[in-house]
């Protein structure tokens, strides 16, 4: 793991204007450095602005104060080097699995690849999420878990520097979620992507992450604590059930979320 700073969130505020000259300060003075090849989770109660941070990194929303730098370049707008896996997968329903990924690949890498290379490239990422059999199906014909795998394949296919995942498995049942988490860990071992995951699931955060970023409650949410998860990879969920480090991390997050920053109005 390289230790140089890859993504730097530097004293960032996010303020949303409300009607009548009022405003809502969602984030206050968020400061975070993320290293290359790292998997980082951002966890917090709903309304803590964790999705807002992701949108700022993606460039889908504008920063009110401070800066975000990716490899020392300012993030001002969205771009394919920061691919997003959306919570509701956001596949285009009129395109097949293959075409959804092909569209992204053609746009981002089309100028550097030949037609057959594009085909191979798309198929490589479809295979990576084990969806060869479903490549000609439309999103409406496949399950929620499969759709999210296509979403991940599409995001990875454009070879981003950072993979941003906004509660990617939140809408799935727990068995499917476990399956996708395993997929994600396996793929990240292969590709070495830097991954930022927004989640509200404690086990998911510990299982997947090198570090867990814990957010205080909004308004004026900021980073409360950062937890290092010192578990070797590849991680096996069965073996972790009684692992001391796993249990320590889990406890630390639960302590943070339900004691220090408990929220009882949800």
């Amino acid at each position: 793991m390289s230790l140089k700073t890859f993504l730097k969130i530097d004293h960032v505020d996010k303020v949303f204007p409300l009607g009548g000259g009022k405003e809502y300060v969602a984030l206050r003075d968020v400061e975070l450095e993320i290293r290359e090849n790292e998997i980082v989770s951002i966890i917090g109660h709903s309304g803590c602005g964790k999705s807002t941070i992701l949108n700022l990194i993606a460039g889908l929303d504008t920063i009110s104060k401070g800066t975000i730098l990716l490899e020392n370049k300012h993030i001002l707008s969205p771009g394919p080097e920061r691919a997003v896996v959306f919570q509701n997968h956001s596949l285009l329903p009129w395109l097949t699995v293959y075409q959804n990924i092909e569209m992204a690949v053609k746009k981002v890498l089309g100028s550097t690849l030949s037609a057959s290379e594009i085909r191979d490239h798309v198929m490589k990422y479809i295979s990576m999420v084990n969806l060869d059999h479903a490549k000609d199906k439309y999103p409406g014909e496949i399950s929620g878990g499969m759709k999210q795998r296509v979403g991940i394949a599409r995001a990875l296919s454009i070879q981003p520097k950072v993979l941003l995942m906004d509660e990617p498995f939140g809408a799935l049942d727990s068995l499917t979620r476990a399956n996708l988490q395993d997929h994600l860990m396996r793929i990240q071992m292969q590709t070495g992507n830097t991954v930022i995951i927004i989640t509200h699931d404690v086990d998911e955060a510990v299982l997947l992450s090198d570090r867990v970023i814990m957010m205080t409650n909004g308004p004026e949410a900021t980073i409360g604590e950062i937890l290092d998860v010192n578990l070797p990879r590849p991680r096996k969920r069965l073996e972790l059930q009684h692992n001391e480090e796993y249990l320590r991390c889990r406890e630390a997050i639960i302590e943070f979320l339900y004691s220090k920053f408990a929220k009882d109005d949800e």
Binding site: G59, L60, S77, P80, V84, M103, A104, K107, G140
Partner: protein, 260 residues
């Protein structure tokens, strides 16, 4: 209880019997009102020589209907050519929407026939006038539904476009149009239906040739059986237009390609 296939044939026929009975009663009470059997035999006369042409004002039924259809499709085509881009524009741009919306709201409820005298004064020719009236008829549902389609594009798809840095051109063709096309076709289907209603009235006013003119002309000729034939033919063609348009709309609707 399953609805038997035979009922689908039987029930309309039963109602036809009732309607013919009422019709016959009316024909009995109003002297000169064509009876069902008179209309039935006249229908064969009219349909036996649909393409005769004895000059302006006296042509076969197919030529009359053909002229009406040509005007409808002419005006309809121009309305699509103008309405879809305008609809895309006001769907995508808040400024364009703000600029156009009041005029669309004011002009939309105006009967297209109100434009007819003005069009006649400008074009001094009935064919162009009729096409213009159909254009005015067709354009509002097309603009409104196109804009509605554009605005129904989910924020998520637009975010995909932003992350991939699609150009505005790519965004329109790869994201917005696929979503908007079913809406556009709904607008076109509505437009075509209304256009087919309006052409009859427009041709009654403009004269010359066309199914509307033909019906009015037969009124002047005291040939009331032909008026009923005209009504039936207009209905049948309107039904066919709507059905074909519906099939085309379904073909272009990604949601109806045998899935979801």
């Amino acid at each position: 209880m399953p609805f038997k296939a035979i009922n689908i044939l039987l029930l309309p026929l039963l109602l036809l019997g009732v309607m013919v009975g009422v019709w016959s009663y009316i024909a009995l009470k109003i002297p000169g009102f064509p009876t069902p059997s008179e209309v039935w035999s006249e229908l064969f006369v009219v349909l036996s020589d649909p393409l005769y042409n004895n000059g302006a004002g006296d042509q076969g039924i197919a030529l009359q209907l053909g002229n009406s259809l040509a005007r409808v499709f002419g005006g309809f085509a121009i309305a699509i050519a103008v309405g879809v881009p305008v609809g895309l524009l006001i769907g995508m741009s808040k400024s364009a929407y703000t600029a156009f919306n009041p005029y669309i709201q004011i002009l939309k409820p105006v009967s297209p026939l109100a434009w007819l005298p003005l069009a006649l004064f400008v074009f001094k020719e009935v064919n162009t006038t009729a096409i213009f009236v159909i254009f005015i008829t067709s354009i509002w549902p097309i603009i409104i539904n196109t804009a509605l389609g554009v605005r129904s594009v989910s924020e998520d798809y637009l975010n995909v476009a932003r992350v991939l840095q699609l150009t505005p051109f790519e965004k329109v063709f790869q994201i917005i149009l696929p979503v908007a096309v079913p809406f556009i076709f709904t607008g076109m289907r509505l437009s075509l239906g209304i256009a087919w209603l309006v052409i009859v009235a427009a041709e009654m006013l403009t004269g010359g040739v066309g199914i509307g003119f033909w019906i009015w002309d037969e009124y002047n000729n005291l040939n009331y059986a032909h008026i009923i034939i005209g009504i039936i033919l207009i209905g049948v063609i309107g039904y066919i237009l709507d059905t074909v348009m519906g099939l085309i709309a379904d073909f272009f609707d990604y949601r109806k390609r045998g899935r979801v």
